[in-house]
Amino acid sequence: MHAARAHWLALWLLLAAAGLLLLGAAIGSTGVERLWQMQADPTAWQIVWDIRVPRTLGAWLAGALLGLAGAVAQGLFRNPLADPYLLGSASGASLAVALALTAFGVSPGATHWVVRLGMTGAAFTGAVLAVLLTLTLARGVQQTLRLLLAGVIVGVVLGALKDLITIASADVLQAITAFMLGSTGLVGWSAGAVMAATLAVCLLAAWMLAPVLDSLALGEATAASLGLPLPAMRAALVAVLALATGAAVAQTGLIAFVGLAAPHLVRSILKTTHARLVPLSALMGGLLLMAADLLARWLIAPQELPVGVLTAVLGGSYLLWLMHRRGRGRVA
C-alpha cells in the first residue's frame, strides 16, 4: 500500500524531471526555442549539448544531493528544522572560497578553468573541514544537542571570519555574494559526473542506514536497545551528510531551502520509512532545483536570476502554505 504509493511518487518525480530536462534544453536567453530546428545548426546544438543540458542536469543532481542530505539531517538530528548546512559546511565552504578568491584574485587575468577548479576544490575542502571542526568541538557524534550547538558555533565563527576577509575588497565581496546566492550556471559535464557519482554513493549508503534513522526516531535508548552499533552508524550518516552537502556546495554554491523543503514536501504527500523517504527526498530536491533553474533563466531573460534567491522564495512560500494548511487541519 505504502510501497505502491511510493513507487508512483518516484515515477511521477522522475517523469516531471525528464520533462523539465527537455524544457531546460530548449530555454535560452531569447526564450523557449524549438529543439528540432536547433539540431540542424551545429553552433546552436553545441549550446544545447554543452551548456544547457549539463547545467539543467547539474541543477537536478545538486538538488538531489541537497534533498538527500536534508532527509538524512532531519532523521539523524530528529529535528524537522534540520538542514544540510547544519554542521557548518556552508560557512566552511564560503570561508574557503573567500580565502581562495583573495589568494588567486578575481582579476580577469586568471585563467577561467583554474579559478573554477580552485573554487570548487576550495569549497568542498572548506565544507568538509568545517564539519570535522564541528565534530571535534562536539567530541564525536554521540550527543545530538552538542553536535547541533557546535554546528551553530562553527557556522557563526567561520561566517564572521569570511565577512572579515570579504569586507576588505569590493571585488571579493561581489564574487562571494554570487557564491552565497548559489548558481547552477557554470555546471558542465565533468561537474555533473562528479555529482552523479557522489549521489550514487550517498544514496546507497543512506538507504543501507535507513533502518538506523527509523529506530532513532523512537529515541536513542530504544535504538541502542535494539542492538544497533549506533556510534559507527551515526559516524557513517554524518559522513554521508558532509559528502553530499560538500559536493553540492562545491558545484553550485549555497542553494537555500532545497534541503529543508524537499523532505517536508515528500512527507506532505506520503508518510513512510526512511528507506523510501531518503530516495524520494533526493528526487524531490532534484525536481525543485531543476524547476528553479529553469525559472531563473526564463523569468527575466536574457538576464538571469540567482537560482538560490528563487529556491528561497518558492521553497519558503510553499512551506509557509503547508504550515498554514496543516495548522487549520489540526484544530486540537
Binding site: 529535528n79 524537522p80 529506530s215 523512537l218 529515541g219 536497545s225 542492538g227 544497533l228 508518510k271
Partner: protein, 260 residues
C-alpha cells in the same frame, strides 16, 4: 538452555550516576526466569535508572548478568534478541510521527533480521501477533502522529513485544492507557510470565504493581525490600516507603493500596 537455578537477570553492586549525581547506591538482585516482578517506589527512587542499567543502556559500576553472562560479553544483536526494553513515556517524541504503527512494531524485529533483508514470514507473524495483542492491529497503517497518547503507547508496547525476548523490561507500560487496556496490559504481563518470559515493570499504580508475582520496593537508590506481592512484609515495606500515606488492603481477591 539455562539451568533453572541461573537467574534470568541478576545485578551485583550496581552504582550509576545521572549528570554526575549518584542515583543508584549498590543494588543487588536476582530474578528467576519465568516470573513477573514490579519495581515500585516514590519519585526519584531510581526505578527507571535501574531498568536502563539492567538493559545495558547506561554506564554503571558493578555487574549485570543476563542469563548468567555479563552484559558486556553479549554480542549486541544477541543481547537485543534476549532482552527487550520499553522506554518510559515514549509518547512525547514527535520524530516518529511519520512512521506507521506497523513500521514501528517491525523495528522490534531488527535484532532478528539480517541487515537490509526483507522481513521474513516469522517477522511478519511476530509483528501481527504483537499488534493484535495490544489491540493495535486495526490501525496498523496509520502513522503514529495520528494516534492518541494511549494508542501510541499500545503501538510502542507492541514494538517491545515483537522482539519476543526472554527478558522484557517495561518502564511504566500503563502510561496513557485507559482502565480496560491497563487491565489487558497487566493480563498480558501475567501471560508472558506464565509462558516462561521474565517480565520486569516499573509501575506507579500500586494495585497494578501488587498484581505481579514479586515486588521490588526501592527508595533513594536502594532496594528496600524484595518479596512476593502477597506477603505482609512486602505490604509493610510499601507503606513505609510512602511514609505511611498508603495502606494495602485486600479487596475482591486483589491487593489495593488506598490513601491513608
Amino acid at each position: 538452555m539455562n539451568a533453572p537455578s541461573t537467574p534470568a537477570l541478576a545485578a551485583h553492586g550496581l552504582r550509576a550516576r545521572l549528570g554526575g549525581v549518584p542515583v543508584l547506591h549498590g543494588i543487588d538482585l536476582a530474578l528467576a526466569p519465568g516470573g513477573w516482578t514490579s519495581i515500585v517506589g516514590p519519585n526519584g527512587a531510581g526505578k527507571s535508572t535501574l531498568l536502563r542499567v539492567l538493559a545495558g543502556l547506561l554506564p554503571h559500576d558493578g555487574q549485570v548478568l543476563l542469563q548468567g553472562r555479563r552484559l558486556a560479553q553479549w554480542p549486541a544483536r544477541a543481547r537485543a534478541r534476549t532482552l527487550a526494553w520499553l522506554a518510559q513515556g515514549g509518547v512525547a517524541d514527535a520524530a516518529a510521527d511519520d512512521l506507521s504503527s506497523y513500521d514501528v512494531a517491525m523495528l522490534g524485529r531488527l535484532p532478528h533480521q539480517r541487515w537490509l533483508a526483507a522481513p521474513s514470514a516469522a517477522d511478519r507473524a511476530a509483528v501481527e501477533e504483537a499488534l493484535r495483542r495490544t489491540q493495535a492491529w486495526d490501525w496498523r497503517a496509520r502513522p503514529l502522529g495520528q494516534l492518541s497518547g494511549g494508542e501510541r503507547q499500545r503501538v510502542l508496547l507492541a514494538r517491545a513485544l515483537a522482539v519476543q525476548a526472554e527478558v522484557l523490561l517495561m518502564d511504566e507500560p500503563l502510561a496513557n492507557l485507559d482502565p480496560p487496556h491497563q487491565a489487558d496490559c497487566l493480563a498480558m504481563a501475567r501471560e508472558l510470565a506464565a509462558a516462561g518470559h521474565t517480565v520486569v515493570t516499573v509501575l506507579h499504580e500500586l494495585h497494578a504493581a501488587l498484581s505481579a508475582d514479586r515486588v521490588l520496593v526501592m527508595a533513594a537508590g536502594r532496594v528496600v525490600h524484595h518479596g512476593a506481592s502477597g506477603d505482609a512484609a512486602t505490604h509493610r515495606a510499601l507503606e513505609d516507603v510512602f511514609e505511611g500515606r498508603v495502606r494495602v488492603h485486600a479487596v475482591d481477591g486483589q491487593w489495593v493500596a488506598l490513601p491513608h
